[in-house]
């Protein structure tokens, strides 16, 4: 991992994961709602937009317009999909996390013996 652009922030990781989870239904409002449902965090829509744009710039997401609905006044949404680079990134982050997690000394062992 080289360069600043390839680091991933906490919110970025969360959004990236949620986009992956939502699969074909991932657009800004859906991401916002999903985050709220899953974590209870209420993130402002402008922050979601900013993160999505950033992730797209970094090449982890791709997007297309579509799915106009009545509640949006007939306006289309921008749907995001996880790219393979994005998926790889998530894998990487996850394996790093797990590796580190496994190195944690287990507190329960210390207490019982």
């Amino acid at each position: 991992m080289k360069g600043k652009g390839t680091y991933i922030g906490e919110l970025e990781e969360l959004v990236l994961l949620v986009v992956g989870v939502l699969n074909d239904e991932a657009y800004a409002v859906a991401v916002l709602k999903e985050i709220k449902d899953q974590t209870g965090r209420e993130v402002n829509i402008s922050a979601i937009h900013a993160v999505l744009n950033r992730l797209e710039d970094k090449g982890w997401l791709s997007s297309n317009m579509g799915g106009a609905s009545q509640v949006r006044g007939g306006r289309r949404k921008r749907y995001y999909q996880l790219t393979s680079a994005g998926r790889q990134m998530l894998e990487q982050v996850r394996s790093l996390r797990e590796r580190l997690y496994n190195q944690l000394p287990s507190p329960s062992l210390q207490f019982t013996t």
Binding site: V29, L32, S46, M65, A68, R72, G73, K77
Partner: protein, 858 residues
Amino acid sequence: MNQRKPPKWADRFLAWYCNPKLLEQIQGDVHELFYWRLEEKGPEKAGRAFVWDVIRLFKWSNIKRTKRKTQKINNIAMFKTYFKIGLRNLWKQRMPSTINIIGLSLAIGCCIVSFKWIEFNTVKDNFHKRADDIYLVTPVRTVDGYKNRYGKVRLDVGDKIASEVPGVDEVIRLRQSEVKIETNDNTFENLISFADPNFFEVFSFPEVHGDVGAFKDLSAVVISESFAETMFGTEYPIGKVLRITLDDEVLNFEVRGVFGKPRGNSSIRLELIVNFEVYRRGKDPQNNTANTFVLLNEQANQQTTQANMASIVEYQRASDERNPYEEIKLEPLITMASNSNDIYGGLGNTPPMAPIVVLTCIGVFMLILSISNYVNISTMMAMKRVKEIGVRKVIGGQRRQLIMQFMVENLILCVLAMVIGALLASAFFLPWFNKISGSVLTLDIEHHKNLWLFLGALLMFVTFASGAYPAFYISSFKPVVIFRGMQRSKSKRWLTSLLLTFQMTLAIITIVAGVMFVHTNKVNESRDWGYDQYSKLVVRLPEKVTYQTLTSELEKLPDVEGIAGSRGFIGLFFDRRKVVLEEQEDYVAIFPVTDNYAELMEVRLKEGQFFDKGINTQSKSILVNEAFMNRFGLSIDNLKPVTLDSTTYAVVGVVEDFHYSSFSDIIRPALFKLTAEDDITDVTVKVREGTALTMRETLKDIMEELEPEERAQVYVQDAVFDHHFEEMDGIRNIMLFTATLSILLSAMGLFGLVSINISSRIRDFGIKKVLGATARHLSNDVYRKFAVILAIAVLVGGALSVFIIEMLLDSAYGYHESIGVIPLSLAAIILLFIAFITINTQIRQVKKMNPAETLRVE
């Protein structure tokens, strides 16, 4: 679903600021969120949350209209095509382009001349390498209750400054006077400068031959290149010897160096430089003064050094109780000339304001005229290209690119106009201007940084002022409108009409000015001078020749009809003095004369009598003019004693007003008083009619005989105002030139508009012709459009010119007729006639045209 809608204003605000490319997605999201919250939290909270979202989304990444990185394309190559298309377009629309280029280049030529002259008269002394560190020492003294600044300092004070004041690196004294200079072949009266030998270390004049610093040697002199030329012609000047008369003592100086013309405009005129010691030796430093410059070092500045001068002020006050300094101020070299009015005995001249204003006005006038032309014509020109614009837009041309394209075309045209304008200026306008203004301006394009800056700024200004409106206007059309053929909305025509009206108004004003100046000059040439100016010659008496000697010589001549003496004479030289009459006082022109002078000059007596013949020259009688009587409210029955130089005089006669100074001044109070023969400096000789010119030569010969040392000065009385007349003719020529140019420019503008107007309606005319419209019918159609504009211009221009030109005339002439119906209608007729001809040249084409040809197109 609830029918509540998100707050409208916030929604609109979002739509306004948001990049249209992002708007759909963003607006959709916030709307969706709003309805979701509406269900969950109720309308109030949802509304507030909506507003909050809109505010949070208000950030640069959402506002900026530029595309994403992927959409950025290489625009540089486009400029090449813009350039090519621009040139093709210029060529395709030759006629309007030529009008634009000619108009702009004429205006630019005028601007360059104005700039050169104004720069020459205002920017001075900034070419010295250390110009910012050089200051003139100007002590302040209170005289008669007024604080005055003086440009000269006592020599010992200068020495003190050099040795005592911290921060002063060098002190340079400069003193100039007229001296007699002789070589083996020539004798000159010339300006000589005495300067301290470190002069050239401080002031930057280029060295041409020899060593310019050599004048530290007391017997050396360094001279300017131009002086070397007049003195020695093409001979090498170094080593030549000059004999210079200083204080009645003839000294030999060897030329050891020659310096050239500086790179800028210097207010210190230098021709010969001799060591200051030569001036100083044998003189009391406390009683002699000189212009004193100081060069400050880097640590010092004007304020600190002025403060440091306190000890010098103390020293001076202790040694001179009669004229103590209040303080010593430093005048920066660069502003020295422009402030020279406030500094007594300083160097340099204040730039003359009136011509600067007039020239600026002319330059700006011309620029406005030609830019109006340009805006009008190029808007109309571009209207013919709307299809091109439509196509460009449809295939993805952005508005910015279109604007860019128009601006590039515009720039090409302006650069062309600039080059032609500069050529015009250097080949015609400048030499012509030099001739009438007596200046020596040249266009030195290579080494003139300010000129480059000016031209650059002018180019930018002209390009934007002329091109911005057409470019923005044309590129704003929507392709749909263009292809439906609806773009010819009349809504924008008002600008064209307005600009044309404005141009015509300016033209009227300048024509009125031209007419009035021609007329007033003509009137002034035959104006009654108030005395008989013909057949009179005036001889200036050299010091060694007395009035008596000359008179006895002159009386022998048969053609001499009368001789009178005076100190100064009517027309060129006179003194103004303060006259007190009871409570009132004023400055009055004084002519000290012999008893017969007024009669000899044939000044007309109004009341009372002339001086008695043979009256005692000590007698306290005076003759005054009518203006004097009016100024002091006197009448012949109510005369009061007049006090002049604390002597009281009695008025014995009143003469009619006569012009004793140029026609630029109104006649102010004047008086004749008697003078003793010893004080006479000028002898007026009345000669037989028709012999003035031959007698002038005779008088010159007599003077040469009486005083071979000096050049004889003999004036012809009726020629004393010749210089004034020449000057006024110069101004008249400038006014005529301006008027001609502005007529030309507005006629060209009109021509361009009419021709475009006709060519865009050529098919209308064709159809009308086929249907049997007469030539008259067709031309009426065109006339009607322009008649209203011309009518308004004539009315407004006429009214304005009465104010503006009246002011101009007041400042140029002492007396002039006020602007009447005749010049106004003359101006209107000239303008209308030219407009008529201009329109007609175009209408003729319509008349001659074969309707079949125009209708067949396509």
